[in-house]
């Protein structure tokens, strides 16, 4: 099963209290800005800018949220972000785990070179490929399309790296057993190995979704008409001006942007609890 200890003994009590204390303190420090963000999104603009900042709102107002939803064509932008994030995440989960599996468990010529190359691109700073990528995408006629928004990110080197490392630790005997039973390689992969990778898949899913959801610069440049804008782009439209920043709108927007990620996290994080059923082998 997982690494849960069996009965809690007496001297574990002290350890437990200490642990809780540290965790709660850490939690307060960590969650602070998020709480401030949430609370401030219902304050009037002047109060948000007050120095020193207030915690609990002196006046509660929903004006920023109202403005957000009335000025923005919210369902459209939310929908665009969702489609792009889901497609990107699904694609990454399949393609990266397939390649990760091949790199970790299948011997094929050129695998070391391929891995080195993929890993290498992970190390290339993102900014530098931006303009060439855009020129490439425009020449392919993919500007202002979902394909243009999704395709460049479907093959993420990070996912390959994560899945490969995780798959390395899956015992070969399970795979061999499945092969002996006559399963084709794809079935071995899909029905036997992947279910064992839930924690890694959940992790990759969350991280990819997050990256795609928060992606700002690429959708801004690829979308030439507003109906293809994603949520972060639309939010930046109204909250950051040439000479002023509308903090209230920006905070309300930030809350709205964060919520789906938190939801995805809550849904997927159950899968962290599933351990590897290696005991079944014995």
């Amino acid at each position: 099963m997982s690494t849960m200890d069996t009965p809690v003994r007496g001297r574990d009590r002290a350890a437990r209290i200490a642990l809780y204390a540290v965790l709660v303190a850490g939690l307060l420090v960590v969650v602070g800005p998020f709480v401030w963000m949430l609370l401030s999104s219902v304050k009037p603009e002047a109060e948000i800018r007050q120095v020193p900042p207030t915690w609990l709102p002196e006046t509660v107002t929903l004006e920023h949220y109202r403005e957000l939803f009335s000025r923005l064509n919210f369902p459209r932008y939310f929908g665009n972000s969702l489609v792009v994030a889901v497609l990107t995440t699904a694609g990454n989960l399949v393609f990266c785990s397939a390649l990760g599996y091949a790199l970790a468990k299948l011997r094929f010529p050129g695998r070391r070179v391929l891995f080195a190359f993929v890993l290498g691109t992970l190390m290339v700073p993102g900014m530098v490929t931006f303009v060439p990528q855009f020129v490439l995408v425009s020449n392919m006629g993919l500007v202002n399309s979902y394909a243009g928004l999704v395709l460049p990110f479907l093959a993420g080197p990070f996912g390959v790296f994560l899945m490969r490392q995780y798959l390395l630790s899956i015992p070969d005997d399970i795979i061999e057993a499945a092969r002996i039973d006559g399963a084709g390689e794809w079935r071995v992969f899909w029905s036997v190995v992947l279910p064992l990778c839930r924690p890694a898949l959940a992790t990759l899913g969350i991280l990819t979704f997050l990256a795609s959801w928060n992606n700002f610069l690429w959708p801004l440049v690829v979308a030439t008409t507003e109906d293809r804008y994603t949520l972060p782009v639309a939010l930046a439209l109204y909250s950051v001006g040439q000479n002023r920043i509308d903090f209230g709108l920006m905070l309300a927007g930030a809350v709205v942007v964060v919520l789906p990620v938190v939801v995805v996290f809550l849904v997927l994080q159950r899968h962290f609890l599933r351990g590897i059923a290696t005991t079944g082998l014995k």
Binding site: R16, V51, R107, M127, V128, L154, F161, T203, T279
Partner: protein, 318 residues
């Protein structure tokens, strides 16, 4: 963990499998190679088109004097060879940025890993309930917009009204202007970055911890190992691939430090928080595309070097 798959198959595959081959092992190897490439294909194709081509293009760009004013006619630029790279090393701003970034990485990566591992281990322990709440909580800074984080941290570090200095005042210390002092700004940003990113590592380490079979802990306990010994001799070794992954990814991320100085200090005061990525961003903003590309590839070399070092130190047997 390293069984040798090739020898567990039955001795000689039936001749019916391969009418034209007498050597079954070669056939199997070939099939395996094909399967391997089939699995790799979708990713490799997408990757080659959307990643490899731009990377090569931008590498070529770094050997020219391409500026933003040449964008309509990118082929008419001059090839300047290694000129950009040489200029980088006589650029005082770049040198400063490089030093700042190195200091940040050397301090920040271990700090974040320790925090992430501690959180993951704590949350993995049976002693803790409300695990989900803690998990989500610790992960929140990773997903919270950097702008909200910046506002709160600027308040925390405000020399007069800020929480940090007020707490210090309680014990009689007169706290400095954390972000305004050119020798304290970088350490402040380092702590803030570790705080912001440890949740990311926590999530990854949690997945890794889940992969450690319970029987190994059982065996250790039977042998009389206490909790710390179990951690050292069971958890850490089993976690090696994941730790390596975490270290490499964090190192790569931190070498590209950008958001925190961009939002909190704009690289100041007096360039004390200017990072290499920020410098590159500025150069792209100025339109010096060739020069910025060269700086990016120098950064790339740095990233490769750091990752190679980490692989060497933390390599797991494959």
């Amino acid at each position: 963990m390293t069984a040798a798959p090739a020898t567990t198959a039955p001795s000689r595959p039936a001749a019916t499998d391969r009418p034209h081959r007498t050597d079954g092992v070669t056939g199997r190897r070939r099939r395996r190679a094909l399967t391997g490439w089939l699995f790799a294909a979708p990713f490799t194709v997408l990757f080659a088109v959307f990643m490899a081509v731009p990377v090569v293009a931008s590498l070529a760009m770094s050997f020219t004097d391409l500026r933003s004013t040449d964008l309509r006619n990118p082929w008419s630029v001059d090839v300047v060879g290694l000129d950009n790279y040489v200029r980088l090393f006589s650029d005082a701003l770049f040198r400063r940025a490089a030093v700042n970034t190195l200091v940040f990485v050397v301090v920040g990566v271990p700090l974040t890993i320790v925090a992430g591992l501690a959180a993951a281990t704590a949350l993995n322990s049976a002693l803790v309930r409300f695990r989900a709440a803690f998990r989500v909580g610790f992960y929140l800074p990773v997903v919270t917009s950097i702008v909200a984080i910046a506002v709160v941290w600027r308040f925390l570090l405000d020399p007069e009204a800020g929480l940090v200095n007020n707490l210090l005042r309680v014990v009689g210390i007169d706290g400095p202007n954390w972000l305004g002092d050119s020798s304290l700004a970088l350490p402040s940003i380092t702590v803030m970055a570790a705080w912001r990113n440890f949740g990311f590592l926590m999530v990854i380490f949690l997945a890794g911890l889940q992969a450690v079979p319970a029987d190994l802990y059982e065996a250790a306990r039977i042998d009389g190992a206490g909790r710390w010994a179990q951690f050292r001799h069971v958890t850490l070794p089993m976690l090696r691939p994941t730790l390596l992954f975490g270290a490499v990814v964090t190192g790569i991320g931190y070498l590209q430090l950008f958001e925190e100085p961009f939002v909190m200090t704009r690289g100041g005061p007096l360039s004390s928080t200017l990072s290499v990525s920020y410098h590159i961003y500025n150069q792209f903003g100025f339109g010096n595309y060739g020069y910025a590309a060269a700086a990016s590839y120098v950064l790339f070399v740095g990233i490769v070097a750091l990752s190679a070092l980490q692989f060497r130190l933390l390599r797991s047997s494959e």
